[in-house]
Symmetry: C2
Subunit: 121 residues, 2 copies
Amino acid sequence: MKQNKTSISSKCKRSRCPVACMLDILGDKWTLLVVRDMFFGKHTFKELQQSMEKIPSNILADRLKRLQKEKIIDRTLYQERPRRYAYNLTQKGLDLKPVMQSLIAWSNKYNPDTYDMSKVK
Amino acid sequence: MKQNKTSISSKCKRSRCPVACMLDILGDKWTLLVVRDMFFGKHTFKELQQSMEKIPSNILADRLKRLQKEKIIDRTLYQERPRRYAYNLTQKGLDLKPVMQSLIAWSNKYNPDTYDMSKVK
């Protein structure tokens, strides 16, 4: 299929700037917290729901859908009745590690009250 | 003044997690675009208003105030009548460079339609 290389990608809503495109996906108060929790070994809806920040379940459901749509996470069925899914970071999601590490370093530096989380796996 | 080290900092609204505290300040679709434009040499309200993403002026005014409050930027008067300010990144703001670089690298990797902005000054 012919593709117009000058057109804005479906993922880029506002411009072709990589910062803007990233913020179109991850620019809110919750999405990166879901990613954070997956880096720290949480995988089920129930586990993710028990975040320190008490993410509302409708927001969690919405962000999981969005992260799947963007192929940052995928899900696998681990229980049939009732149907339960485990969510995992894809390679695209795992590649957010440097982003997480740099923002953790910045936050730790400028807000001493924050937990030292520099050892993201 | 005695400080309760276990209390949540005024900057940490939801938890003491550095990711959450950073998102409390920068977790929206616009704030990092203002920071981006300052990294690329834009300093006046007028210059910042002319972003590719056409940031609404009320949002720009709000984000500039918030960034000043968080000491990520400061401002200097460069014209008396009418009063005009130039906005600059503080050291805290400049220290966001690794965050910007890592998210640009991620976005460039996974969305080939994005501009190559890997050479952030």
